[in-house]
């Protein structure tokens, strides 16, 4: 019961003492909230040389959640948006940008193959893959070009890390995270 629960922020604070939590959000992600979270990142990272890349990766992950999370919530203006979790965290060696949201189990195979293919490619191969996808027809259920994940891989450092946690016969929780190293 939420009203009787003591929120132990001290525990959360200790658990996150290894890193700075620059952004943390859970709930219905509207375009307005996404925009504000993006501004927070820009404020926190104003001196970081990779700020544009980190911002861009955050926007791709956030818009994926807004458009494609299997958990949807409708607000008063009858506008629906995806529900999920977004975090941006920083430690001494780099940054993690991660998103988590529900997906239909039938999407798991496609997403797994897609990310594994992307992770197996060099930067040059990713560049040609991006261009080839951008010039092909829009995927049927996509609002973009189906190049979001390729773009995330091109901008971030190191492979994309992901996992699926199965909820039931229909849904799983999909976590994906991108990493950036600090240059110093």
């Amino acid at each position: 019961m939420m009203e009787n629960e003591v929120v132990n922020l001290f525990k959360t604070y200790q658990e996150t003492s290894e890193y700075n939590l620059l952004v943390s959000f859970k709930g219905r992600l509207s375009q307005e909230v996404l925009t504000e979270l993006g501004s927070m990142i820009r404020t926190s990272l104003s001196t970081e040389s990779k700020i544009k890349k980190i911002f861009a990766v955050f926007i791709e992950l956030a818009q994926n959640m807004l458009h494609y999370s299997a958990e949807r919530k409708i607000n008063e203006e009858q506008k629906d948006a995806g529900v999920g979790i977004l975090i941006v965290r920083e430690n001494s060696v780099g940054y993690h940008v991660a998103s988590g949201n529900l997906v239909l189990n039938e999407k798991i195979e496609f997403l797994t193959e897609r990310i594994q293919k992307i992770n197996s490619m060099s930067k040059d191969e990713l560049k040609s893959f991006y261009q080839q996808q951008l010039r092909s027809e829009r995927p049927e259920d996509s609002k973009g070009a189906g190049v979001g994940l390729i773009d995330i891989a091109r901008k971030s450092d190191g492979p994309l890390v992901f996992r699926f946690d199965k909820l039931d016969g229909k849904l799983s929780f999909f976590t994906i995270s991108a990493f950036f190293t600090k240059e110093n």
Binding site: T35, S39, Q63, L134, K143, G144, V147
Partner: protein
């Protein structure tokens, strides 16, 4: 065919469409919720200009755009290429901040498949 000036917002660029001069400009950042819907006026304007067989000068001066906007920009360039192939007069300018290597590279990638006049220019 009307001229149009769309003011920029936090997530969408300024768009200037001047029918008399055949000049189109997209300036700023682009990550609107629905890129295809946002850029529809640009495609309507292009269709009208092309029906009138006018020359088109299209200028991009962008700092950042997301992948959905990237797809739309590709569609705009394809549209201009088709007009050019049919004998229409087209010139594209791609302006990037002089220290913005990503935006410079993006312009190079976009222009690599095009055969219309495409100028890259840096600014301070």
């Amino acid at each position: 065919m009307e001229s149009l000036h769309i003011q920029q917002t936090k997530t969408s660029p300024e768009i200037i469409l001047e029918s008399d001069k055949g000049l189109a400009e997209i300036i700023g950042e682009s990550y609107p919720e629905n890129a295809m819907a946002f850029y529809k006026p640009v495609f309507d304007w292009l269709a009208a200009i092309q029906t009138a067989s006018k020359q088109i000068q299209f200028r991009f001066q962008m700092d950042y755009f997301n992948t959905s906007s990237s797809k739309v920009i590709m569609d705009i360039l394809d549209n201009l290429q088709k007009y050019h192939d049919k004998g229409g007069k087209v010139e594209v300018e791609w302006l990037y901040k002089e220290d913005d290597e990503d935006m410079q590279e993006t312009g190079e990638e976009f222009s690599s498949d095009l055969s219309l006049p495409f100028k890259m220019k840096s600014y301070k």
